[in-house]
């Protein structure tokens, strides 16, 4: 058979790659949920890594720089989830832009975030506004 060496080399690399991807997927994935799904989920089981995108309730923000600790509620307009984040307040946090929180539920309705990202008001922001109107 032609190119036998080629094929063997390719099979080996593809095999290693598949193994790496499969083992990499263990524990490094999270589910992307809406607030509603997340609340339903937190009743059943907690401790799983999830991501949510939502708006911050401006009046709920409590920021204690001494700790540092940031506590706030996120909302989809109907239901709220209380989020605690032990790190500095991200830039643009108070701007009203949506945030992405990643972390785990510690109790129903109580979310411990390992990461809080503010969707940065980047170049495509204006398009987004137009779409929403």
């Amino acid at each position: 058979m032609k190119n036998k060496k080629n094929i063997i080399a390719t099979v080996v690399v593809v095999g290693v790659l598949a193994l790496l991807i499969i083992s990499g997927m263990q524990g490094n994935t999270g589910r992307y949920l809406t607030i509603q799904e997340a609340i339903a989920d937190s009743q059943r089981e907690s401790g799983k890594y999830i991501q949510m995108e939502a708006k911050v309730v401006p009046t709920s923000v409590k920021w204690d720089p001494k700790q540092p600790q940031l506590v706030f509620d996120i909302t989809d307009g109907k239901q709220n989830i209380n989020v605690t984040f032990y790190d500095v307040k991200p830039d643009n946090f108070d701007s009203g832009y949506p945030v992405i929180v990643e972390g785990k539920f510690t109790a129903p309705g109580k979310f411990l975030a390992g990461k809080v990202l503010v969707k940065c008001p980047s170049k495509y922001e204006e398009e987004a506004k137009k779409q929403n109107q």
Partner: protein, 654 residues
């Protein structure tokens, strides 16, 4: 009025692109020389019109004509002149115009060069189909010259994060790179259409490929540097879908650059090369789709605009058409030879290719997995940063090792004697490094292994150069400096490649260091209070406010010393922009070759106490140094004149 001229230029471009496509096809059917000249004229005209449209938009931005929607959305009258112009690529419509401008000028250069006479019409036809798509999008879906019903008199201003020199170079270079891969792609397709299986298309497009790769490298580099210095989170790469979008074609483009050398020298890997350039080109389109569709969650918030589906359709159409063409011509590309040995230079190229494509696949997989899982199971499952790191780190290390191995082994087949001779010095250097590093306290196994591999590859590359110099010195009798100078400048393509490798290895050293030995600390300090971050002692001295042009900045003074040595005052700040509701972080960095002390001013209180985040990022400076060494090496190899030619063919007679 002026905006109308811009829009008119786009409409005329649309017509002329269509004409150029049709003209190039018809002239081939009827072998009509005059029609070909006319179609070529249309390509020049499109380049001219895109230039007019772009200059009009730049003029509108520079003069602040806020009756134009785009100008009013992305600039304001108090914006520095420089950033008014760079606002051209701050938004969707303007960045598409920039893309179109670059593409049409590239096409005009190809038309002027007319390097392979029978291919040019096909190449131009393919490029013009591409241009037609972009100009169509602008003409009908997102017009950069759209006007507001009234003149608001003032614009909304440019996002502060985009007001940074890095944001000026990064998008332009990324685009120059992205668009550049269209040229080798078009030539490859033209070769397939003409049923030519030779490698002339590779020779003619080699410079194009390297230029595209150069710009894409620069684009990724400046993007990472901008993120590190401006975004203020202490990192430079987060495996965000948008970052991955520019990393993917870089990986496959790098694989392509290497594998075409095998075709040039040994007439092998023909199918693979075609496949790689198709994938690379399609990935550039996929990147534009990703950026404009909003299908994936990214911190680079895109509006979910309708444009996405047009880009997806064009991406899929390009992929299907080019793969179909390739499959149709498979017979012609079949090759007779196989590798003679696993331990040969050509097989190290093969492994390098498989690994680069492997990294690209893993990155692609992680990027689109949320979409796949949603389609299959209905649940959107996201993949986090550790996935990318845990998969790509071993692959990256294997590649790092290959960079060192490749120059040490011979073409065709390496004997034991050859191996022993060549591996002794670099292997010894790496071993000595590992022992010393361990003795000095480098105990993390992963870091020790990674640094040792990098050290091996650096020594191997240098060893290869030294061997060349010694040989030349012996043959010519020149002194060392003359021998080294002539050897390198007369084989610029080869030694340029080694310079790029050394730069990449330095960059890898920076990546390893900053990922394995970083320190992070958050602390709230009162006036006069002192904090220790490893060897550094920082004293919080002052918090004050000052004017920076139109902006207000709140800054903190920290007196920094290391051991007994006073380093000076570092001033992290937060800047308030009048057109923007929130302050932006300006970090303070004390960068040395050993490590970066990176300080973020997070918050302050009425009593003057302030909260800081301190990061100690080892070896980050080597990333930027290495990156710019790569750029230098690429330019060195590209520079026209003597010494840029390819080496001899190494095909065996069978």
């Amino acid at each position: 009025m002026l905006a109308d001229i811009g829009y008119l230029s786009l409409i005329l471009s649309l017509v002329l692109c269509g004409y150029a496509v049709a003209g190039n096809i018809i002239c081939l059917k009827h072998n009509n020389r005059r029609l070909f000249d006319s179609a070529r004229g249309a390509v020049y005209a499109v380049a001219l019109l895109s230039t007019v449209a772009s200059l009009v938009l730049i003029y509108l931005l520079a003069t602040g004509d806020f009756s134009v929607t785009y100008v009013s959305e992305y600039t304001s009258s108090d914006l520095p002149f420089f950033y008014k112009i760079t606002a051209m690529w701050a938004g969707n419509a303007g960045s598409l115009l920039l893309w179109f401008w670059v593409l049409s000028i590239y096409a005009a250069v190809v038309a002027k060069g007319n390097k392979i006479k029978d291919m040019t019409p096909y190449v131009l036809g393919i490029l013009m189909v591409n241009a037609l798509f972009f100009v169509f999008v602008m003409a009908f879906l997102t017009n950069p010259f759209e006007k507001l019903p009234y003149n608001p008199g003032e614009g909304q201003g440019l996002n502060p994060m985009l007001q940074n020199p890095g944001m000026v170079i990064h998008p332009v270079t990324t685009y120059l790179g992205y668009v550049g891969f269209a040229i080798p792609f078009a030539f490859a397709m033209a070769g397939l259409i003409l049923k030519r299986s030779d490698d002339e298309w590779i020779k003619v497009t080699r410079r194009w490929t390297i230029i595209a790769w150069l710009f894409l490298t620069l684009g990724n580099l400046t993007g990472a540097q901008w993120a590190y210095e401006e975004l203020g989170w202490g990192g430079y790469w987060a495996w965000d879908p948008v970052e991955n979008a520019s990393f993917l074609p870089w990986l496959t483009g790098s694989a392509f650059l290497h594998s075409v050398m095998i075709q040039e020298r040994k007439n092998m890997l023909k199918i693979w090369n075609i496949l790689l350039i198709i994938i690379t080109f399609v990935l550039t389109l996929f990147g534009t789709f990703l950026v404009r569709s909003g299908v994936l969650t990214s911190v680079h918030a895109f509006g979910r605009s309708d444009l996405g589906k047009y880009f997806l359709a064009f991406t899929v159409a390009s992929l299907v058409a080019s793969l179909w063409l390739m499959v149709d011509r498979l017979n012609m590309l079949r090759e007779e030879k196989e590798f003679e040995s696993y331990i040969s230079k050509e097989s190290s190229f093969l492994f390098n290719n498989l690994i680069l494509v492997g990294i690209a696949f893993a990155t692609f997989w992680g990027t689109i997995f949320p979409l796949i899982s949603e389609a299959v199971t209905g649940n959107k499952i996201t993949v986090s940063i550790p996935f990318f790191n845990s998969v790509n780190a071993p692959l990256g290390l294997a590649m790092t090792l290959l960079i060192g191995i490749c120059p040490l082994i011979a073409w065709r087949k390496s004997g034991v004697k050859n191996l022993a001779e060549n591996f002794l010095a670099p292997g010894g250097a790496a071993l000595a490094f590992a022992v010393v590093a361990f003795a000095l306290g480098l105990r993390k196994p992963y870091a020790l292994l990674a640094f040792t591999i990098a050290c091996f590859s650096i020594s191997a590359t240098l060893w290869e150069v030294i061997k060349g110099v010694i040989t030349r010195k012996r043959i010519t009798g020149e002194n060392v400096l003359a021998a080294a100078g002539r050897l390198i400048t007369r084989n610029r393509r080869r030694y340029g490649g080694y310079i790029i490798h050394l730069g990449l290895l330095m960059l890898i050293v920076g990546v390893i260091g900053s990922n394995t030995y970083d320190t992070e600390m958050v602390k709230t300090l009162k006036f006069g209070e002192t904090v220790k971050v490893k060897d550094y002692t920082l004293t919080y001295q002052n918090l004050a406010e000052r004017k920076q042009g139109k902006n207000d900045a709140v800054y903190a003074d920290l007196l920094v010393s290391k051991g007994d040595k006073l380093i000076g005052t570092l001033e992290p700040e937060r800047v308030f922009y009048p057109t923007h509701p929130n302050p932006a972080t300006e970090v303070a960095i004390n960068s040395t070759l050993k490590e970066d002390l990176y300080i973020i001013l997070s918050a302050w209180d009425k009593d003057g106490s302030a909260t800081f985040k301190f990061l100690l990022n080892p070896l980050v400076a080597w990333m930027w140094i290495g990156g710019y060494v790569m750029i230098f090496g690429t330019i060195f190899a590209l520079w026209p004149g003597r010494g840029g030619a390819v080496g001899a063919k190494y095909t065996q007679r069978s």
